[in-house]
Symmetry: C2
Subunit: 331 residues, 2 copies
């Protein structure tokens, strides 16, 4: 294990000098800098990141908190893209990241969780899809002990930023498009997400606005982002309604497959733009967002907070689309 001492010895300088060279201090002569760099090169020295975080006054380690408790395997795609975006940025900024699955924290109080994170020298969090059930994480955000960026949860304060698309407008746009494309629109079924979720509330508002504008009868059911539940809801209401609007692609797919089994057709629209859409040759309208980019943006916002910026809300773009098979397979 090559340490800074080995480099110092080889270069014939003090280890503090090596440290200065490595951290780009100004007051170092070209000569010693060259000596040190040569020694680093020859020994293949890489600083021990653990010791660095331990020693530094201002350490930065980021915890990525991913929620995989959604009720389908296909949420994997989204979470994986979040991780990929964050890891790319972590490499760019040279900041350590640690991944957590939020279910790990289920049986912890906010104090326990806070202590646990601090024990790992984590001072920042990027939280994806924070659910309103996660009381401990909410308390941590409120206590402002960590720099946080929330992806898809509209909370921000001095030390917390949020990154998300405009869920209200996106839901409005895609639902409106689908309604406009249909001739019959007396009675519409909206399959919402999870009761009490931030996103769910915003999206529901949008549908209610449409209801006022178009004067249709609106049935709201909570599918809990679960494809199976959406399927059951459609079995219950499918025949009665003209259009089905879903708060996620997965539920939309559940709806379409249920309709097929019922041997009836109803226009359906989804939300997210996941690849799976391309395989269900349904040609539904959906809202496409770039999850990798959103995660990268979240990382950038975290960097801003670390550099002294104040928490804010960042809005990401979205796009209405229909995903076909050729759109989702990659060369």
């Amino acid at each position: 294990m090559i340490s800074i001492n080995d480099v110092a010895k080889k270069a014939g300088v003090a280890k503090s000098t090596v440290s200065k060279v490595l951290n780009n201090y100004q007051l170092v002569s070209e000569e010693t800098r060259a000596k040190v760099e040569k020694a680093v090169e020859e020994l293949g020295y890489v600083p021990n990141t653990l010791a660095v975080s331990l020693s530094k006054k201002t350490f930065n380690r980021i915890g990525l908190i991913v929620d995989i408790r959604h009720n389908s395997q296909f949420i994997d795609e989204i979470d994986m893209k979040y991780l990929i975006g964050a890891y790319e940025k972590s490499k760019e900024y040279q900041i350590d990241v640690v991944t957590f699955f939020s279910s790990q924290f289920d049986d912890m109080s906010s104090e326990q969780l806070s202590a646990y994170l601090k024990s790992q020298r984590i001072n920042c969090l990027i939280i994806y899809n924070l659910s309103s059930e996660n009381r401990n994480l909410h308390e941590i955000i409120e206590n402002k002990e960590f720099y946080c960026v929330l992806v898809d949860s509209p909370i921000f304060n001095e030390k917390t930023s949020s990154v998300s698309i405009d869920h209200y407008m996106a839901q409005y746009d895609v639902a409106r498009l689908t309604i406009e494309e249909s001739n019959i629109r007396d009675k519409i079924l909206y399959i919402a997400g999870g009761r009490g979720g931030y996103i769910t509330t915003q999206r529901l508002e949008a549908v209610r606005k449409l209801q006022k504008e178009y004067q249709f009868e609106l049935i709201v059911e909570y599918g809990n982002f679960n494809e199976y539940k959406a399927r059951e809801i459609v079995f219950q209401w499918g025949r009665e309604v003209n259009i089905i609007i879903c708060a996620s692609d997965l539920m939309a797919i559940g709806a379409v497959y249920a309709l097929t089994d019922m041997d009836i057709f109803r226009p359906v629209c989804g939300f997210d733009g996941i690849s799976l859409m391309g395989y269900t040759k349904a040609g539904m309208n959906t809202v496409k967002q770039d999850f990798v980019q959103k995660s990268k943006q979240a990382f950038d916002e975290l960097k801003k907070l670390l550099d002294g910026g104040k928490g804010c809300h960042i809005e990401m773009p979205y796009e209405l689309t229909k995903l076909g098979y050729m759109d989702v397979i990659q060369k």
Copy 2:
């Protein structure tokens, strides 16, 4: 940030005593143990894992190396399951894990990579789907500087174990079943994985054995686990052959969709048992493996190595199945 010093102060003992209590040393009186445990409880103290690894002579930190360069989004499901299995075990064993995407290492020599990992205090690796192109990782395995477990690559030595299903038998079984189910079998197309890959070689051998047994004409093309490539291969050969055997579900799905576009039918079989299979109402034969379990097993093997065991090969079970929609959606 509550440290061992705070606990020591509160309990009225030396910090070394606290450390002894925490690490279950024998020579500690019940009285002081109780005092210390009380203080730990009250302060919500959690040891700083970084300092622990830094201080300990025998540190254990595990690097999970996931390969996401496969050519589809749907490989996400498999990788995510690998991660979930590993994280669960890491919690059980209380061993730190760090996730890497293998593309991070592309431009590193094995020396650089080794130094980098060591700089992070990583001494173990679980490598998923090691590709034969990753020369640097291969060298690291050969050098035996790290404890390694390979998932789905048949390499093992004193410090390296491998965990995988029997790819030869599995490919043989699923292909044979598909051939048996078909009346016409003069000419069969095998869409293999990546040229030079371990798995690819094993699976190809199995198909060649079948060729001898059933005396059919065999066309072998390399689809590189890429759905799009498989699609093109089917456009080229689909009409000429009676049956199409694919080395992955994804390529099988690409094949089936291509056949649909060509407006012809051919029996197709896949490999992996991914959820996506359920959405393509094709009802193909495939080999189903439990990725979460495989990853957990890999972690167990790593633990054995750490406890002084020798590297070995572990075979995991598999199952022939046809995945339908209701099989893959979760309540």
